[in-house]
Each structure stands twice: as C-alpha cells, then as structure tokens.
C-alpha cells in the first residue's frame, strides 16, 4: 500500500499548535508513513478567502493541490478548516472545466497546473482507513484503559454534507478510534457542535459561550480529556480555557489532545515526543489515568 503523502500542516501546526506538527511526525514515523511537506504552500484561506471571492479561494487551494499533484501523492492535512477548503476546491476544480481553466491561467506563472489526480485526506483518515484498525491495534503497547475521552469533531470535518458525502458521519469514526485505543468514550451534548474559533478574535464572548458549554458538558460527563482532529478547536479549548473558566465561573482543568497525541500515547510514545508540555492546560493528571504512562519511552 502506498504510504507516502504530500503534507500540508497549515498555519496552526506551524505556529500556535506546533505540538500537532511534532506529534503527527512522531506517529507517522512509527507507522512508516512518509509525510513530505510542500514548499511555500501558502494558506487555504480559513473562512476569509471565501469572503473575498470564489476565484481567490479556488486559486489558493488549487495551487496547494497542484503542488501535491506534482509530487504524485495524495495530500494530507491536520486541520478541519483546511480540509474543507481543499476538499471543496478539489471537487469543484475536478468537476468544472471553466473554473479549472481560470485557476490554471493564474497558476501557470508559477509553473503549476491543477489536473485533478489526487485525493485530500485528514491525517485521522490516514490512520483509520489507509493504515486501518488491524495495524493500529497491533501497535498498541499502552492501551488507554482507564482514560475517559470526550471526542470533539469540529464542524468542517463533518459539515456540509455536500462536501463530505458519506464522510459526514465523522462522529462514529473518531469514537471508534478512541475505543480501539482502549479509551472510554464520553457521550456529551456538544460533541459535534461548533467551538466558535472563526469569530474568537473579533467576538470572543460569542465563541467562549459556545466552547464553554461543550467543555462543561464533557467535564460533567466525567471526561479526563477532550480529543479533537482540529487545531482551531484545540486553540479555543486549550489556549482560551482560562478565559472560558472565568466566563463560565467554574474550574475545568480539561486537557485537550490532538488525535496524533492520543494515538501516540497508545503506541508508547513519550509525553516529550508528543510535546504535551506545550499545552496551556497541564496534562499530568490526565496521564495518571493511563496505566504505565509514566514509564513509557
């Protein structure tokens, strides 16, 4: 099976969530997955390029896909919002010859061409689908028994249905991964809702109200930690957690894990290798719930 991918980490994994980049590389390395970063990939535009024009959105994303196509590899991302931008642009440019021509006109100056030959995947899907549950299971050296995990999916890996098709049921996939690793899944209201990231910089109160309600429900459900496939959700939940605690007038102390960190813990990677110390919310108490966690290498 082809386990070589082009890799687009995005701005969070290269900026405020570098532990995501570090832990993704560590887990990929353990499974023999080769992730080759794109050179000068730019930005998928978050929600902002769409608010300029369809042309800017499709050019920026078509350019990133074209760079992966030049490597002849499927493109792997680790951010829900980047995923949606790239998945939608990939589908649109494959289906619509007129847009494809407009974008390729713009890309020709950089010697790039969108051909429509590759797929865009989240690293979560590489683990659950390409690698598969059997390989994952075989590599578990430290089952997460005793750990109660609240999965938080993020909007853009599950909605809109038109973009993700059968993938729109991403909720069970992440649930299944948690269970496969031995963790107990906490069911709580808000798991598939919005963290509010896309307004947090301009409208903090709105975002913290939303995320505070989800984290409160996860905590009430007995969660030791939250796991999310999206660094933007991670940023609101982790970096803003002291603000959420103040706004909601309650103590949470809920560590937020990236998917790669949770998988990394189960396959025996150390807290250092997974850069757990880069979180705002300390992970120490959470690790105490995992048998043999302290002795792992």
């Amino acid at each position: 099976m082809n386990r070589r991918y082009a890799y687009f980490p995005g701005c969070s994994a290269k900026g405020t969530c570098q532990e995501l980049d570090v832990s993704t590389a560590a887990v990929a390395n353990r499974f023999g997955i080769e992730l080759s970063p794109l050179e000068n990939p730019g930005c998928t535009g978050a929600r902002e390029f769409r608010a300029i024009s369809e042309l800017v959105h499709l050019t920026a994303n078509g350019r990133i896909i074209a760079k992966a196509e030049r490597m002849g590899r499927d493109l792997v991302v680790v951010c829900d919002t980047c995923l949606l931008n790239l998945v939608e642009a990939n589908a649109k440019l494959k289906a619509d010859a007129e847009w494809r021509r407009a974008v390729n006109d713009a890309l020709s100056a950089e010697g790039l061409e969108f051909k429509g030959t590759i797929a865009v995947k989240h690293f979560l899907w590489v683990l659950t689908d390409d690698l598969g549950p059997d390989v994952l299971r075989k590599n578990i050296v430290r089952p997460l028994r005793g750990l109660k995990v609240a999965p938080f999916y993020g909007c853009h890996i599950q909605r809109p249905v038109a973009a993700h098709g059968s993938r729109a049921e991403e909720k069970p996939a992440l649930d299944r991964l948690c269970e496969l690793l031995g963790a107990t899944v906490v069911q709580y209201e808000g798991a598939s809702r919005c963290c509010g990231f896309h307004v947090v910089a301009a409208e903090e109160k709105i975002a913290l109200n939303m995320s505070g309600s989800h984290l409160g429900n996860a905590k009430d459900g007995g969660a030791h930690c939250v796991v999310t496939p999206c660094p933007l959700c991670h940023t609101v939940f982790d970096a803003y957690q002291p603000d959420i605690e103040r706004a909601k007038n309650r103590s949470l102390g809920l560590p937020i894990l990236h998917v790669s960190q949770m998988v990394g813990l189960a396959i025996g990677l150390s807290a250092e290798a997974l850069a757990l110390s880069r979180h705002v919310v300390e992970c120490g108490d959470m690790l105490a719930h995992i048998p043999q966690a302290s002795g792992a290498a």
Binding site: G15, G42, G45, F49, V56, A106, A109, R193, V199
Partner: protein, 316 residues
Amino acid sequence: MSPSSKPTSSSGTIRVRIRRFDPTVDAVPRFEQFEVPAKPLMRIIDVLDCVHEDLQVDIGYRWLCTSKKCGTCAVKVNGTPKLACWDEALPDMTVEPIDNVPVVRDLVTSRAEYQDMLARVSPLLVRKRDYPGFPEPITETQFASTVHLRDCIQCLACQSACPVFAQKDSGFAGPAILVQLSDLAQDPRDDADRADLADRVAQVFKCVSCYECERVCPTEIPIVGEAIEPLKRIARRSGASSGARRARAFWEIARDEGMVNGAKVALRAGKSGLGALALGFRLWRRGKISFASVFGKGGSGSDAVRRAHQASEKRP
C-alpha cells in the same frame, strides 16, 4: 418529492410526547404523551391532527398550507427541526417547538421578532436610479447566484439551529435574515447600501461558519456558501465591524506573507487590552508564540493568489 412518495410508517401505534406550555397560565412547560394508530404515509402533522381531532386534546400547532410552502409548521422532533407537514412521523417521537423563538402556546412560536428584524434590513428592492423601461430586462445569468435562496420558505429551522443566534445578546440577525438580505444584495436592480445593512444591522461577520443551518434546512439551501459568503464579500471592503476588520487583516497578511499567523491577525484587527495581553503571555510561556512570529515577516506569499485577488477586486 411529493408526500405520496415517502416511505410508509410501520404499522401499529405511534407514541408521541408533546411539549405543552401556555406562557399566560403555566409556570413551566410539561410533556404529555399520546398514542395514535399508525397509518401509511403518516406525516408529523397527521399525528398532531389525530391528537387534536380524534383524542380531542386542545394542543396548539400551526396548520396552513401542508405542502412545504408556507413555512409555519416547523417543530423540533427528537431534537432536530422538521417540517410537520412534510417529514415522516416516527414510531416514537418527542415534538417540541423550535428553539430560539418565543413560544405562543405549545408548538406555536412567535414570528414577530423575525418580522421586526426583517423590516430592519429593507426587505424590498430599493431603487434610486431611473428604470430603463418596464419590465426591466434581467438575464438568467444575473439571477443565477441567488436561485437557491428563493427556495427559502422562512420556516426558521435555521435560526433554531444557529449557535450564535441562540445567544440572545449576540446581535446576530441569524441565517434566515441573511438569506433574504443576500438575495437582495446580489440583485443587480437593487440600490440599497446592503454592505452596511449586512455588516452593521445583520452583523454577518458574527457567523461562525458551522453549517448547522444548512444541516437542518428543509429546502436544502447552501446557506453558508450562497447567502452568507456573498454577503461577507459585499461587506468586507467597507465594513467597520471588528469582524470586517479581521477579514481585511487576514487577507493582507496572507497576501504579503503566504502563511498566516493568528496572533498577528488579532493585533492588526485591533485586539488589545488586558485580556489580549494575558492570552499573549500564556501562549508565549508555552512556546506557542514568539516575538519574531508576531512581529517578523513570515514568508513571501504567491503571485498567482495575489493576481486572483486583483482580478476579483476589479469586478463590480
């Protein structure tokens, strides 16, 4: 799809729990449970009819067009907004009024707040130029981008699912208003200042892009992509709100440096004060931001993307 092509409900009985509440006499809502005989092709509204007519219970619910046109019968069924006249009855269902709107009685909700907000965004074509003659010629192409928006039946299912509209003090007008506003804002015949209405009155930049509205829309309108994003395009250039400023700051950094740094966007969009300082310190202490990442230059960006932007800005 016509109601007759719907799958048949299972035989036997339908158990329905209905939320009862009359704010003029009840202190709190209560649920009442009923059982009605299941019939083939039974819709939610047929079950409500059975409770009302056969069991003689005076539940309040709206019954008007019964053909997915008037948009007045939306209710919440097992937690999800549905059109009573169109969606299939479930063997075991809890029926409640939709969320985020005042309850008049039982399943009947008030449309007054929605109508008031709609009036504030000038819900009719505003014309300042002279007409070239009547009827004014308008082509299919000029209407193409808003064709789905006119499927809106204003049932308010989207408002009930919106996590921002749910926050009563948010100031956000909600997706149903934005659909109506966007239809007019994209109309070439309209002369109103829709950018200001979108930014200042409807507060479009408070949309979190969660797509919950699209998930529940009974007429499957791509609300985010075809109503809200075009409105943001119109409001972005001149908008004075913090959201519009943030959108402009994001673009400027992406244009100049390629990769975007979140802290830099926040600073340039005018985020300041003790809260921002505390957040910055927290991130710096964990190595999440550095002085160089916030104040240095990230990269060089892409000529192709810059050219695409220039081409977009030239369009009217």
